[in-house]
C-alpha cells in the first residue's frame, strides 16, 4: 500500500492533534502539544551527518525537553479489503546529545500503532518499547487493550476524543526483556527492524517482530470501541516517542512499508 523512505519529503506523515470544536482549548490535554515530524539527516555535534538507513533523510520525531513530552508522526489512509496487513519499518531512538553522558535511560518509550475501523468497531492496536521509566531500565515491549473513556468535545454531540497514548494501561508482552542496540555514546545510532502484522478480517494481531525477536501475539488484544460516525475503513499508522526526563528524545523512522496480503 505504501513505501516511504522520506527522501522525497514527509510523504503524508504529519503531526497528530486532538479533536476540537470552536476553540483550541477544547483539545484534551494529552493532545495539545504532540510535537510534529521533521526530515532529518541526523547531524551530530561530534561526527556530523549520519544520513538515513536509505538515502539522506529519515522522519525524525523530537519531544520537548519536558518529562513525558511526546512527538508523533501519523499517516492516514483507508483500507479496501478486510484482510491481513503488515507494517515494516526501521527505527532508531536517542536522547539529544546535549551531555557527555551515555544517557541510555533518557528515552522513556517509542511505539507504533494502527487506528482502524470496520462496520462495527474502531480498533486500535498499540505496541510500545518501554526503554526506561523514571530513570530505571525496563527494555520491554508492551501493548494496550484497555482505554480511557471517551470525552465529549464541544457542544454539537458529533465530536468525541480519548487520549489513547496515555501512560496508563500498558501491559508487558509475555516475554523476557529485549535489550536493543543503544550503542556506546549518544551520537551513535543503530537502525532496528520492526514488523507488525494485523488481520482486518478478525481485527487481531498476527505477528510482531523486533530485530531477531519474534513475539507470540496470540494472547494480546487491541483497544476496541464502538464504530464512530465518520471513520469508515480508516487505516492510520503512527509512530511516537516519549521522553523520561527534561531532555529531548528522538525517534528516527525510515523505509516504512505497509503491505496487504490479497489480490486486486
Amino acid at each position: 500500500m505504501l513505501h516511504d523512505d522520506f527522501d522525497k519529503g514527509l510523504e503524508g506523515w504529519t503531526a497528530l492533534i486532538g479533536n476540537y470544536e470552536d476553540s483550541q482549548d477544547a483539545v484534551l490535554p494529552g493532545y495539545r502539544d504532540l510535537r510534529p515530524p521533521m526530515l532529518s539527516n541526523a547531524t551530530m555535534w561530534d561526527t556530523g551527518s549520519v544520513g538515513a538507513l536509505d538515502g539522506v533523510y529519515s522522519m525524525k520525531l523530537a519531544t520537548r525537553p519536558e518529562e513525558a513530552s511526546m512527538a508523533v508522526g501519523v499517516k492516514r489512509v483507508t483500507w479496501r479489503h478486510a484482510g491481513p496487513i503488515q507494517l515494516e519499518a526501521y527505527v532508531t531512538f536517542k536522547p539529544e546529545a546535549a551531555e557527555l553522558r551515555l544517557s541510555e535511560l533518557d528515552v522513556r518509550a517509542f511505539g507504533v500503532l494502527f487506528d482502524l475501523q470496520d462496520a462495527n468497531e474502531r480498533v486500535m492496536p498499540h505496541l510500545r518499547y518501554l526503554n526506561a521509566l523514571d530513570g530505571a531500565p525496563v527494555g520491554r515491549w508492551q501493548y494496550k487493550k484497555d482505554r480511557v473513556p471517551m470525552a465529549d468535545i464541544g457542544g454539537t454531540g458529533k465530536t468525541r476524543s480519548h487520549f489513547h497514548l496515555s501512560s496508563d494501561g500498558w501491559i508487558d508482552l509475555d516475554a523476557d526483556p529485549q535489550p536493543l542496540c543503544y550503542n556506546e555514546i549518544a551520537t551513535k545510532q543503530n537502525w532496528h527492524y520492526l514488523r507488525v502484522g494485523f488481520d482486518l478480517a478478525t481485527m487481531s494481531y498476527t505477528s510482531f517482530q523486533c530485530n531477531d525477536r519474534v513475539y507470540d501475539v496470540s494472547g494480546i488484544a487491541p483497544m476496541v470501541m464502538p464504530a464512530m460516525a465518520n471513520l469508515w475503513c480508516m487505516l492510520n499508522v503512527a509512530f511516537w516517542v516519549e521522553t523520561d526526563l527534561n531532555k529531548r528524545s528522538f525517534l528516527f523512522v525510515d523505509s516504512v512499508m505497509l503491505s496487504g496480503d490479497w489480490e486486486g
Binding site: 522525497k8 519529503g9 551530530m44 555535534w45 533523510y57 523530537a62 539529544e96
Partner: protein, 112 residues
Amino acid sequence: MRRSHTSVVERNRVWDGVFETEPYEAAWASEAICFVRTLDASGPIADADADARVQISPDGIHWCDEGTQLSLAREPGVTFAKVAHFGGFLRLVGEVPNGAEIRVIVYLTLKA
C-alpha cells in the same frame, strides 16, 4: 516542482518572558518563512519591544543569531520573517516584556 513543507512548531502556546521554539531540522530547504500568528495578547506590551530573532545551529544544540528579526503582532494578526542559506537547524527566540503574554501559532514554511 520545488518541494515544500509547512510545520506548525507552536500551537496555541502562551509566551511570557523568554521564549524559544523547538529546534527544527530543515537542511533540505533553501528558504524559509517563519510566520507568527498572534491569537491574543495581554499586559504591558503595546509600546514595548517584543521582537523575535531567528537562530541557526550546526547541531541543534548550540545556537547563534542569524541576523533576521521580526516584530510580534500586539493584537490578533500575523507577522513573518524570511531567511535563506540557514544550514540545518532553525528556531525562533525572543522575550515578551514582564507581565505581558502573547498566545501564538508559529509556522515554518519551507521550500527546497
